[in-house]
Symmetry: C2
Subunit: 355 residues, 2 copies
């Protein structure tokens, strides 16, 4: 029996996680696995009901589970609150940190039936299959923040970007280990011509790389990488980078697949793995069953793969999604002429049919 904590959160979070849970249940039936789901409050939803974006009982639920399926948190309603109470910093960032989830994996694989659905030429995105390994518990996100009033008026505001050798070593190892199971190439992304932390990043990744003589390591500046991801994304296998660069590059890379609504993620390395779609709460879509649940569903597949070690079951979900696209069904974010528009629940139904 596998215990899965479900934290739907805000906006479209509840709608997309509902479909991910249904798909996991279908996989359970097909492969004869028992999953026990238990819901917890997080983000704005938790703030409104319990006064905190990450209540103690949610934390307890996570720690008592084998894996966490997360929706999305935040929204304009809570934007004016102080940071520690906001759904983002007080909710998902705190959860990542408390659980020690230092490695965020974001695969971008272009589904063949969707290779026309992007802003890029089909011949540029065809066959793209890359994995961004983003450091998730360090850097600017968690460094010291300060706002000091200045004598002449106004403020001096700072955020600190911090990395220790050990933090860089462990994320590098995750990247090299994953590359070994793939095309054996790691691109480490930094800004070593400007940042001291990047210079150390480069030294440490290089040193770790010597333990992996079978994996090719290259270093790339983040500005160049952002350009290369548009011009020639097929050159990449595994990318490894610090927290903020990873945030930017993975959203950018999601455009290669056609929609952020396809971007799954796994956050691992700590007590309990957390799986969440790469998109946000999309308040403008919430409550209308208009969102694409595929990112959440594919995050469920990653949960099976990385937390429960159920590779066959994970692959089954991924192929089911691809077949639904092949059959011509599209949520609004991916809609093209000649395709059939479906809503969130119907997309869930269609995927389940293919399980």
């Amino acid at each position: 029996m596998h215990k899965i904590a479900v934290l739907p959160g805000d906006g479209i979070g509840p709608e997309v996680t509902a479909q991910a849970v249904r798909v996991l249940e279908a996989v359970g039936r097909r492969f004869n696995r028992k999953f026990q789901f238990a819901e917890g409050l997080v983000g704005g939803a938790a703030l409104d009901r319990l006064g905190h974006p990450l209540p103690g009982e949610t934390m307890d639920l996570c720690l008592a589970s084998d894996a966490i399926l997360f929706g999305a948190v935040g929204g304009p309603k809570w934007d004016q609150l102080p940071a520690r109470l906001r759904p983002e910093a007080g909710g998902i960032l705190a959860l990542r940190k408390e659980l020690g989830l230092f490695a965020n994996l974001r695969p971008v694989k272009v589904f063949a039936p969707l290779k026309n659905a992007t802003a890029l030429k089909p011949e540029v995105v065809d066959g793209v299959d890359l994995l961004i390994v983003r450091e998730l518990t360090g850097g600017l996100y968690f460094g010291r923040k300060a706002r000091e009033p200045l004598a002449g008026g106004g403020f001096r505001v700072t955020d600190e970007l911090v990395y220790t050798t050990a933090e860089i070593e462990r994320i590098a190892r995750v990247a090299f280990d994953l590359a070994r199971k793939r095309r054996k190439k790691v691109t480490s992304v930094d800004k070593a011509n400007v940042l001291e932390s990047s210079r150390h990043w480069r030294e440490v990744v290089t040193a770790v790389g010597q333990e992996y003589p079978d994996v090719v390591l290259e270093h790339m500046y983040v500005d160049n990488c952002a350009m290369q991801l548009v011009k020639n994304p097929r050159q990449f296998d595994v990318l490894v980078t610090e927290n903020m660069f990873g945030d930017i590059l993975s959203d950018q890379a999601s455009a290669l697949g056609g929609s952020l609504g396809l971007l799954a993620s796994a956050s691992i390395g700590g007590k309990t793995g957390l799986y969440e779609p790469g998109h946000g709460t999309a308040p403008e879509l919430a409550g209308r069953q208009a969102a694409n649940p595929v990112a959440a569903v594919l995050s469920g597949a990653m949960l099976l793969r990385y937390s429960l070690n159920l590779e066959e079951e994970a692959g089954c979900i991924e192929r089911a999604v691809e077949r639904v696209f092949e059959r011509g069904f599209r949520t609004a974010d991916l809609m093209e002429e000649g395709r059939e528009l479906v809503d969130t629940v119907r997309m869930g139904d269609l995927i389940i049919e293919q399980i």
Copy 2:
């Protein structure tokens, strides 16, 4: 008489600035303007000859000039040096800071004859005309850097991201003033859901925006912006953002035009404006007249516009470049079937023919 300091730097820097100078000379003849050019050493070239990437005599030359035409600096040869001696930090970054060039303008305008030359679909890039206003003398680039040994071994390395209210105000004004002369829209890019400096950025830009009721202001998270620049770049007019985000987004945006070899830039706001191509030294191309000089040539046009107030002359260069592309001539970075390949010098000749 206009005095222009020319700092060619390293790699392809000398080759591309040579063409920019020739084009400016042609404009001078056509419009009866006198430009006096004086060369200075900078970057690795200065380090090798004078022991410092920004020698005092180069600084003096810059201060005695009306504008600076800059090539590019850096290369593997100098990568192992301590930061303050490296061509990047010790050369161009020091120069930007010393001259107080806090506003970096990077226009991305897709030339109609090149709309097929990019990785994006022609209908996505057609008509793109945006301007990135990057803050250039603050943020992570110039904050305190530290590397402290840790008791258990290894280091703790930090870079500080710092902004003052005044720094944000002045760059916001540059963006709003420029937007007034364009399509009257400013997109301010930050990461206000995570960074304290971004929260202040958003407050200050919003406050400055009230002085410009005729300009529409929107705020966008940097991760979303990186995605939107691929999916729907036509939505943007003026983007304003901090130093590091601007570095990443402007290189990314250059891919919309087809090549970094087209990206011109102006750095203004201080004593003497500095104009440099958005690309680097491209050591693999250096010495072969294989680089695209258009970014340098268009930087020359920006020099005429922003430092010398010669708008007609600037426009003349821009139209000349477009006509050369219309006639089917391409440097290697933009080569497509059915076009004629030309080298750096020949591209300069062709542009001059159209002046």
